[in-house]
Amino acid sequence: MMTYLNVLEIESALENLAAAYPESAESIACPNVTHEGRQTHVLRVGARRAAVYGVLILGGVHAREWAPPDALVSLAADLLEAHELGAGLVYGGKRFSANEVRQIVDSSNLFIYPCVNPDGRHYSQTNDALWRKNRRPHPGNKNCVGVDINRNFDFLWDHLKKFAPDSGVSASEDPCDRQVYRGPSPTSEPEAKNVVWLLDTYPQIRWHVDVHSAVPVILHSWGSDQNQMTESTQTFLNSAFDSVRGRSNDAAYGEYITQIDRNIVETLSYRMSEAVKAVRGDGYGIEQAYGLYPTSGASDDYAFSRHFIDPSKTKVYGFTIECGHSFQPAWTEAEEVIREVSAGLIAFCLEASAIVARSTSSSVRQ
């Protein structure tokens, strides 16, 4: 029987893929080691080192969600092998042609980062299965261990200051909070620093997909408040709205998104959902990342926010997939989830490629 990958296997799998496919893959060492001393790697899949666009795909941010890292290793292996064979890829009822595989590997860079939080995954797989955070003890209280990496990014990080007190924002300043402790400062954690480093170092990255589990659902921007497209002053940058941000169904504030950006994120989400459904009929709904409550410090919002803070930075569209129906499905079910995630991400990359092609031909015409 196949089993879930442990953290050592994930790292070795990436090394072996880079060694087996040197023309189309490269192992990239992330500079920040974890509290327990682990160095993580990203596999760049793509025949051209500086392709016109890049997609950053994260897994394993939350330790207890076991299927996403395995799915990303499987996806990388599939793309590299199929590309070398000149073959297409089939996941259940979803088929991608050899040309489509070639289009992705030859024209883009996929930065596949299967296990962002290996300390947490190791602890979850060997001790407390429902552990979510990393394993760094709080500097002031060694009994409180771990930070939620997906509340640690520098996007409205200070939730007490940046959201309405009654918004119910999903984050905590309590270092002993078992689930959503935000950390002592924005991007304090090595795991979050590595993601920021990738976005800083590879400006060709235009898309960011953080693979989590489980609902299932596909999420797009924003997670801070309900979207609106008319009031351009209502943005996360405007502190005048700090006292009202995050409440549901109110007129005081909504997070501004342009019609063009909304169309792009919805189209990409739809393509993923469509491909996932074709695998075995399971429906991954499409939702804005604002659910019952707003979220601060999440990777998808951080990635999208960077360009609005500093227009010299690439605009990166951020997404989250919450795959499958359980944090730790039986392995046989995990295999089905892996097929769904793989199909969804390949469809995503093809649509991203089409968007880039359309924008390039339109700027050539101008």
Binding site: W66, A77, E287, L292, T320
Partner: protein
């Protein structure tokens, strides 16, 4: 590690307001990564992961009448079972062991 079992439940309500009233009252609660409800057959459903004592208290809350609580499984027990489905050693220790994905190549 807390010894109390964590129970995976589904919370169902006819409206988002009913769902939010309940989760507001029992909070803070573990509602997964982002507290995203899904719509199923005209109802709003969200997963929760509550220690047994919090689940008991939740059943007695004022807003409990506005939702249905369905116990899915003992997530702590299931997690311990799943830990037996994790690889031991390193299947890729040899450089020649190339991982293969689950997609069919054709």
């Amino acid at each position: 590690m807390n010894d109390e079992s964590i129970i995976h439940i589904q919370i169902e309500a006819l409206t988002l307001e009913d769902l939010r009233a309940f989760t507001d009252e029992i909070g803070p609660a573990d509602l997964g990564c982002r507290a995203i409800p899904r719509q199923t057959e005209g109802r709003f459903v969200i997963d929760g992961y509550l220690p047994e004592t919090q689940l008991q208290a939740a059943r007695g809350s004022r807003a409990a009448s506005r939702v249905s609580l369905i116990v899915i499984e003992n997530a702590s027990e299931l997690g311990r079972e799943r830990q037996r489905e994790v690889g031991e050693g390193n299947r890729f220790a040899s450089r020649g062991e190339i991982p293969r994905g689950l997609g069919r190549k054709e």
